[in-house]
């Protein structure tokens, strides 16, 4: 289909214009991916050139530098000491010492620090040993090399067998990963202090003075204030998010589960075997279960987001209409749902719809009474233990309806804020033109809201994709729909709840499957975000509206 120019486009009628947009969207997809690949290639090229430059700079520094600079290629911070920056020099040197102690001293550190810590497994081996022990990413090898063994102990009452545990794969892998982190940090620091030597060299060559330690410290609350501010949060994120996530991605390539817990039974590297399982649609594979759950997850997310969005906006418009009194009261009623902890309200509501719950009973009695009065056919008679949660579709619909109860207050608050920002002259001029309330809504309010809340819709869609609380607390994933991944698959399971139950409820605890599902969740979210950010107008040009 050929691209139309503006004039031709405006001449199309509505249906065709829409069709044209849809076709254009799909036509743009190959171009989009092509562009992305090109971008990636350019980035690679950039990276290679940058590395080349760095190496050239290092070599040049070595050639030009005096003996002190050359020495600091081996002893960290020596150049800094030489040029009168003892504080920086000392920090670099300290880092090198710690690195060597961790990476190189086999078991030695245990003797120095063993007194301070009871648990000395970290110090029992050097970092390099951990790395070698883990057989890092070598398919078919175990993580750790000392399996537990049975030993016969002679006691007073005869001999007993005692299990002596060897390596714990979980820890071996963790320490190996730490070693890799450490090595990367080491290379980075090495480069950093060489560059500092070069800078010192340049400054002294010009006859100026280098910065003193005092100035360095002072700059931490001034020029370098961002370093002070970011230090704490970044250390937190690095240790409690980045490290564990990389660890969990690595787990996807191992056989870590309850049977191979790394302690009583070492786990091993299995390469891409687990990923093959995910796309295995036959018996024992995860393919079918994954596909079903993914489909429901997307469906749920779609309905949950849009029902909330439009109904919430509707409620906000009602409350904010001129002439409606006690606005604050109506708002507070809704805000109550946000204030009450979700596990209280959701758990309570879920039990209300049980077969013996108040609303569940009401439903059974109501329907049965209608059957008695011959309003409904006999086939609709409900059993005494009927519960909406037991049917696949009744449970799904009930979830979406209850989610409206949870979600509307948030949208209402947000919409209230935005509605107040819509210029009132738009409404006034439209009224003069003879527009009625509905037309005003469709032509002014809705487009404005959609424009402003574009990014919010995306966040909320992704939020619903991972809406653990609503699903887990209301249905716990049920009703049951077979078994896969060592855990029962529920009809209302989202990827995230399935994943959760896999790690905590299932006796098989297939961590590797959980890890793969986690990676898949990431991919789904990332792809969605990428597409949406390229389609939504308000992310591109903020002044576009009107």
């Amino acid at each position: 289909m050929k691209r139309l120019n503006d004039l031709e486009y405006l001449r199309l009628d509505k249906g065709r214009a829409f069709l044209y947009n849809v076709v254009m969207f799909f036509c743009a997809i190959p171009g989009f991916f092509g562009g992305a690949i090109l971008k990636l290639l350019r980035l690679c090229k950039k990276g290679v050139t940058a590395i080349g430059k760095e190496i050239a700079d290092i070599v040049r520094t070595f050639v030009r530098g005096n003996w002190a600079v050359r020495l600091s290629f081996v002893i960290f911070g020596f150049g800094n000491f030489y040029y009168g920056q003892p504080l920086r020099g000392a920090l670099f040197l300290l880092f090198e010492l710690v690195f060597c102690a961790y990476m190189l001293v086999p078991g030695g550190a245990r003797h120095w620090l063993g007194l301070a810590f009871k648990e000395t497994s970290l110090l029992a081996r050097s970092g390099f040993e951990w790395l070698v022990k883990s057989n890092f990413l070598q398919t078919g090898q175990t993580v750790g090399d000392v399996p537990p063994r049975e030993e016969i102990v002679q006691g007073l009452l005869g001999s007993t067998t005692v299990t002596v545990y060897g390596d714990d794969s979980v820890k071996v892998l963790l320490y190996a990963l730490l070693s890799i982190f450490f090595i990367i940090a080491f290379i980075y620091t090495w480069r950093l202090q060489i560059r500092q030597c070069r800078i010192c060299m340049d400054i002294t060559a010009k006859g100026k003075k280098v910065r003193s330690g005092k100035q360095d410290l002072a700059s931490l609350v001034d020029d370098q204030f961002h370093k002070t501010m970011l230090a704490l949060p970044l250390v937190g994120i690095l240790t409690f998010t980045v490290l564990p996530i990389i660890y969990m991605v690595l787990i996807a390539f191992t056989s870590y589960d309850a049977a191979h817990d790394g302690y009583a039974n070492l786990f091993s590297w299995v390469g891409l075997h687990n990923f093959n399982q995910l796309f295995n649609f036959g018996q024992g594979g995860l393919g079918l279960a994954f596909g079903e759950i993914l489909a429901w997850t997307l469906m749920w997310s779609f309905f949950a987001t849009f029902t909330n969005y439009f109904l919430g906006m509707f409620v906000a418009i009602m409350i904010n209409k001129k002439g409606i009194k006690i606005k604050k009261f109506w708002r507070t009623v809704l805000v109550m749902t946000i204030a009450i902890p979700q596990f209280v309200s959701l758990l309570y509501v879920s039990r209300l719809f049980d077969d013996s719950g108040v609303l569940g009973k009401l439903l059974i009695n109501g329907v049965n009474t209608l059957v008695d009065w011959n309003v409904l056919p006999d086939s609709m008679t409900l059993a005494a233990n009927f519960s909406l949660w037991d049917g696949e579709w009744t449970a799904k619909i009930l979830l979406i309806v209850l989610n409206i109860w949870i979600g509307i207050p948030y949208i209402m608050l947000m919409a209230t804020g935005i509605l107040m920002n819509i210029p009132t002259d738009l409404y006034e001029s439209s009224r003069i033109d003879g527009a009625n309330t509905f037309q005003q809504y469709a032509r002014i309010t809705l487009p404005y809201m959609l424009f402003v809340t574009g990014p919010y819709l995306l966040t909320s869609f992704v939020g619903n994709l991972n809406n653990f609380n609503v699903i887990y607390l209301l249905t716990g994933g049920g009703p049951n729909n077979g078994i896969a991944g060592g855990v029962s698959v529920g009809h209302t399971d989202l990827l995230i709840t399935w994943l959760y139950r896999m790690t905590i409820e299932s006796p098989k605890a297939e961590y590797y499957t959980a890890s793969i599902i986690g990676i898949m969740v990431f991919l789904v979210v990332a792809i969605l975000s990428l597409i949406v950010y390229n389609v939504i107008p308000s992310t591109k040009n903020e002044e576009d509206f009107k």
């Binding site: 994120i237 409606i324 596990f343 039990r351 108040v358 608050l413 890890s515």
Partner: protein, 294 residues
Amino acid sequence: MKQIRTKKPHTSLLGAKASRRLGNAIIYLLLTVITVVWLFPFFGIVLESFRVESGAQVGYLWPKQFGADNYIRLLRETDFLRWFINTGIMGVATAILQTVFVLSMSYTLSRLRFKGRRGLMNFMLILGMFPGFLTLILIYKVFVDLGLTANMAPLGLIIVYCASSGMGYYVAKGFFDTIPKSLDEAARVDGATRLQVFYKVIMPLSKPIVIYTVLMGFMAPWGDFMLANYLIHENSRGMSVAVGMFEWLSRANMNEKYTLFCAAGVIVSIPVVSVFLLLQRYYVEGVTGGAVKG
């Protein structure tokens, strides 16, 4: 936007005033229905918490016999008080620590310019797309070794809630973005360091966002079930209210402890709701501001 087609002027059978009144009446009706629907569970839980005759679900709301028995049982027979204190401690600690983390992160990203700022923001955006609790598989293992589970689980949970909280900087950054840059510049010209700009110029203007962040931090442990359930297994003394009360509604316990759950739910809701309603204004500012700026 396209122009709205002109139609014949608005006429109806009723006069303009009467029709507006009818419209308002319908809206009042709808709002009343909404109020009833939204408040129904809360009335329900309060009523059921005072029911004496049976601890199970009975299929009717209005108790045949009113009494505070459930509340007394709650304090005498269960560890509820301890869970409540645990959660309270976690709430206060999280409120303080998380505020420090979130504010320093968001302030830096919003008002300081440094190399790698954009990259850092993108990195955190991508990092946030991973399901967060996956990290708990490893963290749990490590915490078991460090003794931060079971009885000490509240401490472990505080660490989990706060350590990565810097990644939730969006709302606070949106707020800082709105404070005019000229204020910083004026102070810098007068010789203030960036630290002084932060706590002498910007912080006094940031009361709403500080309160919002504190409120969010305080509420987090009360509402969190997912992470807490992961770190707290079976050990009754270290539990938070969410995990403990979840157990009461399991199939095995529900016939005895259903009304206990209701009573506990009421007690848990009181501090949270009162703090929330008190600071509602700041919450609303945070939600609307954050959403619009994306």
